[in-house]
Structures are given as C-alpha cells and as structure tokens.
C-alpha cells in the first residue's frame, strides 16, 4: 500500500463534514437560520468552502446563488481559506495617511505571498486589508486574530511575524 498521511489528518474531512451536518441538525435544517449556520461552519473550516456551501444549499433546499449572495454580503464570511493567524491590516484614511501600505508590502513580502494570494501555502497566515477599525489614534493598526498591534512600521511587522513563526516552529 502507498505511504499514507497520519490517520488523524485523514479523518479531518469526515469529522468536519459531520460537524456541518450537526450544525444543520441543530438549526433544524431551516434556511431562516442561514447566517448562524454559516457562522458555525466558518468556525469549523475557518472559511466557507464552495463545495460545503453547495451542500448547505442542497440540504436547505435553497439555490446556491442565494447562499453565495449571503456569504459574500457579510464581511465576517470568507470564501477564501484563512490562515491560522489572520492578519488584518487597516487601510482606512487615518492608517493610510500614516503609511499603512509599506507595512502591508513588508508583511506580504515576508510571507512570500504572490499578487492576489491571500493565504500562505502552509495555511499559517492569511493577510487582508480592512477599512477603519475604529482605532485611528493608534494608526497604522494591524490586528492578528484578536490582538491589536498599534503604530506599526514595516520593521515591527516583520519582527512580529518572526516571533509567531518561532513560537509555531518550536510547538511542532
């Protein structure tokens, strides 16, 4: 038999799919609960995979275009895979004026993201820009998962990524 990945990883898919069904079950397979259902699924997958959305549409008896419309309307949902660390960089007016773009460039370069690419190959980081985070006094602002990093510079951003990498590498 060909070499195989460790079992737990292979079980992932089915386990997550089971979760999707648990979620649907919990909300009574009822499309009026769509937003809550999508939130739970995103919590499981960290994004909304297309095939799963199609499945949700089938299971709720709705059209995939409608589910897609809802999933793209709310900023909280992502249809792209997200990294374990979600880097959100503010490019609102205040942050922009305080030079947020060089910070973004430094981060993307450090992570080796190709143009248009949002998530690193190893799924450790994803990077996106958002509009005003309501912390203009601290501009430019970067938020990683729940942690706010104020007054960022390109150098500080790279240092912060290095720290995360070091922590992750030693954990493995």
């Amino acid at each position: 038999m060909p070499a195989t990945a460790p079992l737990p990883a292979r079980q992932e898919g089915l386990r997550k799919f089971q979760k999707v069904n648990d979620v649907l079950e919990r909300y009574g397979w009822d499309a009026t609960n769509l937003i809550a259902i999508l939130q739970q699924i995103q919590a499981e997958y960290r994004y909304l995979p297309q095939d799963i959305l199609t499945y949700v549409a089938t299971a709720l008896g709705r059209s995939p275009s409608e589910i897609f419309g809802v999933a793209t309307f709310y900023a909280q949902f992502s249809l792209e895979p997200k990294g374990k660390y979600e880097v959100r960089l503010c490019d609102g007016t205040a942050c922009h004026v305080r030079r947020s773009i060089p910070v973004l460039q430094a981060i993307r370069e450090k992570l080796g993201l190709a143009p248009g690419e949002q998530t690193t190959k190893d799924m450790r980081f994803s990077v996106e820009t958002v509009s005003c985070l309501g912390a203009c006094g601290l501009a430019p602002v970067v938020v990683i998962n729940e942690t706010v990093y104020p007054q960022m510079t390109p150098e500080a951003a790279v240092k912060m990524l290095n720290e995360i990498n070091a922590r992750e590498d030693s954990a493995q």
């Binding site: 297309q50 059209s63 900023a75």
Partner: protein, 671 residues
Amino acid sequence: MPHMKIDGREIAFDAETNILQVVRKAGIELPTLCYQAHLSPFGACRMCVVDAGARGVVTSCTTPPEDGLEIRTASDRVRRVRKMALELLLASHDRNCLTCGKSGLCKLQDYAERYGVETVRFFNPTDEVKQPIDDSNPCIVRDPNKCVLCGNCVRVCYEHQGMHVLDFAGRGANVTVSPAYGKALADVDCVYCGQCATVCPTGAIQVRGEIDAVTRALNDPSKTVVFQVAPAVRVGLGELFGLPVGTNVEGKIATALRRMGADRVFDTNFAADLTIMEEATEFLHRMETGEGLPLFTSCCPAWVKLAEQSYPELLPHLSTCRSPQQMFGAVVKTYFARDTAQDVADIVCVSVMPCAAKKFEARRPEFAIAGQPDVDAVITTQELARMIRAYGLDFTSLPDEPWDQPYGESTGAAVIFGAAGGVAEAALRTAYQQLTGEELTRDLWQTTAPGETSREAEVTIAGTTVRIATVNSLAAAAALITRMKAGEAPYHLIEVMACPGGCVGGAGQPPHDTLARRACRAQGLAAIDHGSERRQSHRNTAVQALYAEHLDTPNSHAAHETLHTAYASRRRIEESITLEGGGPVMVEVCVGTCCFQQGSYATLQKFGKLLRQHGLDDAVALSATFCFERCGQGPNIAVNGQVIENAVPERAEEIFRDVVLPAITTADACV
C-alpha cells in the same frame, strides 16, 4: 373614485398599485430601469422619481397612489435627481455603445440622450479592469461591465422561473449580479430561457447572436439554405419595423428571406402539425393504457432541461415527441434531402425562432445525423430584423409571398403553438376527432388576462373527462408539480412553456416592456387560427402526404426514428466534497438534491462508520459528490466508478460487504 393631480391635471385611479401606473395612465412615460410589471417592485434605480411636494422626491414605482396627492413629473428637483442617478450609472458602465449588440434598444442609452447627460464627471473603473464576459453557452451572453444592478434578471429568474440562477453577490462598491461563486451560466442550473435578457435594460445580458453563420451559408453557392420560421415570429417581427403589435407579417418574411438568398422558405407550422399528429396519438395511447399520465408537452427546451435536471422521476411523463423545430430539421435532413436527391452535407437548415433556448436545443447531440446537426443555425426574431436591415430591405413595403411547398402548408392548430395553451389545444382538437369522429368546435381557453401563468380546462370526449392544464412560467410549473405530487392535480395533459404568455413572450422577440404586448401578439395568432379554413392538424394535406410517402402512420417505427427522442437525468452541479484522503478504492456518495432527499446523507455516515470499525480508513477514499445523472434511482453511490443504485442507508452494510470489501482485497492484490 379617488383622484391624483399629476402636472396640474386631475387623474382618477382605482386598481393601480403605484404612482407610476397612474402617471402612465395620464399618458406620461416615466423612465424605468428596475420596474417590470410582472415582477415585484424594487425601487433601486431612481429613474422613475416624481416630485411629491412636501413629501419630497419619491420613487413612483414603489409609492402607492393617494387620494388628493399632487405630484410633478418634470420639476427641477426631479430632473436633477434623475440626471445625477444616470450620471452615476454611466460612471461605472462600459460605454462602448457603438459595438454593443443592444445599441438602439438600450434603455440606459435612450435615457442618457433623452435627459441630456452630456458629461460624466467620475472615474470609470471599467476603463482599467474589465470583469470577464460569460459566453460559455450557446444562448446567453453576460457582460457584467454593462450591469446597472437593477435586479430585473434576478427577480425574473427567481419569481417567474423559480430558478434563482442569478443573485446579487458582494457588497458596497463590489456588488455584482452573478450565478453562484461567479460561475458561468453553462456550469449552473440555467435553462437558457433568456427571460433575464428580456428584462435587462442594458446590454449586460443578451441573447447570443449567430447571424454570421447564416450569412456565410447564404453566400456559399454550394449550399442549399433551407429556412423554417416559428409561429410567434410572424406576429412579433413587424414591431421592429413600426407595425402595430400583433400584425401578421409572414408574407413579408418569406419575401425577405428569398431576397437575402434563401433557397427554400418553409414554415415551422408544418412541423407543428406533424408534432400534433405524433403527440395526439401518443396521448391517446397513454389514455388507453393509463400509463405515463399525465403527459407533459416537450416543445419548450427550457422546460425539458429543467425536467432533466430537477424532475428525473417525471421524465417518463414527458412526451417523446421532438419539438417542431427539431422535427422540421430531421424531416429536412432525411426526407427533403432524399426527395431532392441532395447530399445532406450541402443542406443548411436555419430556423428563425422567438426563443433563446432553441439555440441550445439545436445543439443537443441527439439531434444530429453523423455529427451534423439537423438544425444548423438558430436566429431570433430580433436577429432576423437585423439581417433585414443589413441587407437594406425596406421591410414594410415588401410584397407578401407564400411559403415554399411542401413544408409550407399548415393549419390553425399549428399557429397557436406560439401562445400559451396552444399546444394543448391543438393536441386536443386532433385527439377529439380521432375518438369521436367529430371536430371540436369550441375553443379550449377563453382569452387570458396578461400575466396569468396557469390555467386549466376540462373537455368530455366520448364520455371521458379529459383534464388539461397549461402553465407559462417555470415557477408555475414547479407549483403545479408540487400539487400533482400531493395528489391535488389529477390532470391528463399538462403543457409547460417557460416564457410569459408562451413563445410570443420569448427572449428572441422584440423588446416586450409590457405583458399586454405579449397578449396582443397572442391575439394575432388566435386571429390567424380563426381565419384558417382548416384548424386541425390532421387536416394538413402535406402532413398526410409525408406519412403516405415516408412515415407510414403516427408513432410508426419510422416516425419514432425521425420524430421522437429520449430524455436523461442531467447533472446540475459539477462539484464534490473530499472527505477522507487517498486509498486505492474510491467510494463516492451522491448528495445531489434527489439523492439527498432520498436519504443519501445517512448512507454516507454509515459508510464512514463502517470504514472506521474495520480500520480501513487507509484503503478507501470517501467523498461526496453532487450527481451521477441517475437521480430517479437514487440514492446512488459509486465504488471505483461503478454506480450502485438504490443505496438506501439500510443497504449500506450489505453494499460494504459485497462490493467495497472485495474491491479493497483486489486493490491489495495489485499493489
């Protein structure tokens, strides 16, 4: 009766549901981009604004009329708001009117001119990045760079067709209208009815053109170009040349096609009579045996595609008769070729249709002989008008010429195919005669109100009550099927047409703007029927001759070969969910709509459990997929590509033991 004051004039109103309708009643044409009488009001484009004094500037399409309300339709405020709204729409619009197929029929273009938008002061994103154009299919072309987000297509597809193929996606400045995941129409459920194109005010959704292929054939001396013209076209085309709605211009069409170089100009009506001979016989046979009832008509390719995608269990109920377009194509390529001793390869069959979906139907692989399609090209009523203009013909002053024979003869029963209810009525006329020996004298349907999407009738034939229903919208079809499944709709014959009012309201017809326009065209067809000497398909002598020479009798072996077809489940979604990694044996469980409803999800779970119990996760790649095109026999699973039908959860263990385990053993042996 309550009154409103419009531009100083007192106007009475009663059943009008919004100010717009009252204003139109007063003879004032307000611009509208997002209003369609047969769809829910949306109130997004702000074209239809009126000045309601102290109440401000309101959108007339969403504001109900009120007694004593005073409004002005062209105040400075109104003009300012409207012009700004237009300028903003134009700002993000790909303004290449000169090369746009909608030019001349585009509302945005018209309004920009009418309301004097002379400059656009904003940056245009389509100058820099254009969104991709979807021309994935033979019927509809979507160009999102021309979309004004009026939502008409979204609402017609959902409200009228029940399809919900299109919807808004994204938000803020990034809103678009698109199929799920931004896919192409060819990769989603779209049935190509083209109703979205009929309500699109701009060139963002258009019926795909194929004039070039036709003119190329006309210019090729080695080809015999044979035309057929559908019933609805003759009462539609005239509108594009300023004639009153519903005028029958068939004589001018024949002349125009000859002047453009057509070798034969025939009438699809001939094939409609032929269809009735076959379909009435099929219907009577089913009435006799009681099998396959109700019989659904199959002339509308949009409906056929929907049935194949979503109602596999109803496929045995669909009439096996090809549509008139395809019967005609087959007759031309088989018997016309033989009778005129021509090589089929030299014959080009072109149809002129009121329809977008007919372009898809003509390309279905089963409608071809040795890879050569029976119908080579399909142009719409609008495309024919364009050709006539390109050839420089002054249409209205053309003389009237007859169709060529033998496929130019037809009866009144054929021409009503073009309007909702017509096919059922025509079939019944012939069935009635065959059972009773007498002609059915009364008309089946009284004239319908515009917008009525479903009707029913009862006729007693030789002591049997025959119940007939006709629907002219796919949402109405779905509702009827639901009732039918609940045992509440005991019909014998059901006619389904996708477009409002039937084919007279098809996507290839001139712009519709009102439902009344469609009804006028239908009246034009009814007038031709009533004026016909013969009004029953079995009295078409050319059809009789075709049977005598080639086809024997209706539903004969030869007729089945040439005039009938078969249906199959169609996959709706190309996707699958990978659930567990590699392994030499592949197990796919269908979670498509039909299989899901039949319990496939429980089957899937059982398989997951069984694999774990036997410690075989490594040996099997388990996935969920969205359809094997055997929906009627579901739930379905596939083991290494071999489909196992009726895989209900109760059978999971048995299938696992008898099919999956042996497959694993074999795979092991191979390694």
